[in-house]
């Protein structure tokens, strides 16, 4: 069970906290909570939803702690620590790596409540209904946070739509023949 969830949980935490060490801590905290209450769950899907929830909450806790102790926010300097970030760009995917680093950095500038929705919706590609269950908020709130969060992210990334018009995406424009 733990193995089935750990990659997803870790990645959720990584995108929420933006830091591998914090993500590992949050992952561990989330699993500890989850495992202690495991017997209360009937069915995998309820557990998955809850697992996401405790992960997001564990990330909020860690982010809160970090705000209180900004000096302790250490970039891992342990040479043995595995590196989790993409690292040096691989030759074939240099553009993608650069883009993803920008997105990760931009995510950190998005307010946490919006960031949680963005990570769940756009990184993990979960439906809004499921995100509403995970975060225990109305689905309308999820949608509006998704939209505003995306705009905030685009702003942090410096996306300028005027450079992109007309719509570049196939289903985005009714004018496209």
């Amino acid at each position: 069970l733990v193995e089935r969830h750990q990659t997803r949980v870790y990645n959720l935490a990584l995108r929420m906290t933006g830091n591998p060490q914090d993500a590992a801590d949050a992952t561990q905290d989330a699993f500890i909570q989850a495992l202690r209450k495991l017997s209360g769950f009937r069915g995998e899907s309820a557990f998955t939803t809850w697992m996401h929830r405790v992960t997001v909450n564990a990330c909020y806790d860690i982010l809160r702690k970090r705000r209180r102790q900004p000096m302790l926010h250490v970039v891992s300097d342990d040479p043995d620590a595995p590196t989790h970030e993409p690292g040096p760009p691989e030759p074939d995917h240099a553009d993608e790596v650069t883009g993803s680093l920008d997105a990760q950095e931009a995510l950190r500038r998005v307010p946490e409540e919006f960031r949680a929705v963005l990570v769940l919706a756009d990184v993990h590609d979960l439906p809004f209904q499921e995100i509403a269950r995970i975060l225990d908020i109305p689905v309308g709130t999820v949608k509006s946070r998704a939209h505003r969060g995306r705009l905030a992210l685009a702003k942090a990334m410096g996306v300028d739509p005027s450079e992109r018009e007309p719509h570049e995406s196939a289903n985005s424009s009714k004018d496209t023949p």
């Binding site: 992952t27 561990q28 989330a30 993803s100 809004f128 949608k143 939209h147 995306r150 996306v159």
Partner: protein
């Protein structure tokens, strides 16, 4: 003009019905602000979708399991996890050792040795995954067929090992060769685990060597003379004592 944020979010997701799409697009045609926002939102969603999935660091799960199992003054299911893991290993050994009748060690002892005798015991999470992974494909002892002794090891990699009289190359779901047929050990592929995939796991060599000991000399230690020099070097040094024929 009110801007339909919620619909726009769904529009960007591509989860709207055809009629909703039509009404959103009608709005977009009239509202340049929303139209630009949709472009921005699409760019953001797309950028996030390109963030790579990163493997969880080693040991996160097992540390959590350890921490969850740390006594808090109340017994929990996790107390039984260790016993369950040991039982799972015993079950695996039983499943994968059809020749166990003449084994020098009892199944329980063999299982216990696999767990407690390793200096770096397999993580509970690894063992806990075993029952679902291990299955006997062919019930008939000695008959041609598969004995699947699949495991899931650390780092979320599945490793499978098959024994088959005829020998077949097997790959893990993620494409890593674990067992192969061919070479000097043709047909004894259960012994031919590629150490490059498993050498950090003590579990597998012990299991394989346990099994090797129970084979006739002519048939044993396929892993030690399988034509894979690195396996010979690594494992024969580390586990040479296990490879000795038993006195019985």
């Amino acid at each position: 003009m009110t801007h339909p944020e919620e619909l726009l979010a769904e529009y960007v997701n591509g989860s709207l019905s055809a009629s909703d799409i039509a009404s959103v697009e009608e709005h977009l045609a009239a509202c340049t602000a929303c139209s630009a926002d949709v472009s921005r939102a699409r760019a953001a969603r797309s950028a996030l979708g390109f963030l790579p999935e990163v493997p969880a660091p080693d040991g996160v799960a097992s540390r959590a399991l350890d921490a969850a199992a740390r006594p808090e003054g109340r017994p929990g299911w996790y107390r039984w996890l260790g016993a369950g893991a040991a039982a799972a290993v015993v079950a695996l050994v039983l499943l994968s050792l059809p020749h166990l009748g003449s084994a020098p060690a009892t199944p329980e002892k063999a299982g216990a040795a696999l767990v407690s005798g390793t200096s770096s015991p397999i993580a509970i999470s690894d063992a806990a995954a075993l029952p679902s992974r291990a299955r006997r494909v062919d019930e008939r002892h000695g008959a041609p067929g598969l004995v699947d002794i699949g495991y899931r090891l650390r780092r979320n990699r599945s490793h499978r090992c098959y024994e088959r009289e005829s020998g077949h190359q097997r790959r893990t779901p993620d494409g890593v060769d674990l067992c192969r047929e061919g070479g000097p050990g043709q047909g004894r592929s259960a012994f031919q685990a590629d150490p490059r995939t498993v050498r950090r796991e003590r579990f597998l060599p012990r299991l394989l060597l346990q099994r090797a000991r129970q084979r006739p000399a002519s048939d044993q230690l396929g892993c030690l003379d399988s034509g894979w020099p690195h396996l010979h070097c690594k494992w024969s040094q580390q586990h040479a004592h296990l490879a000795q024929p038993t006195r019985e």
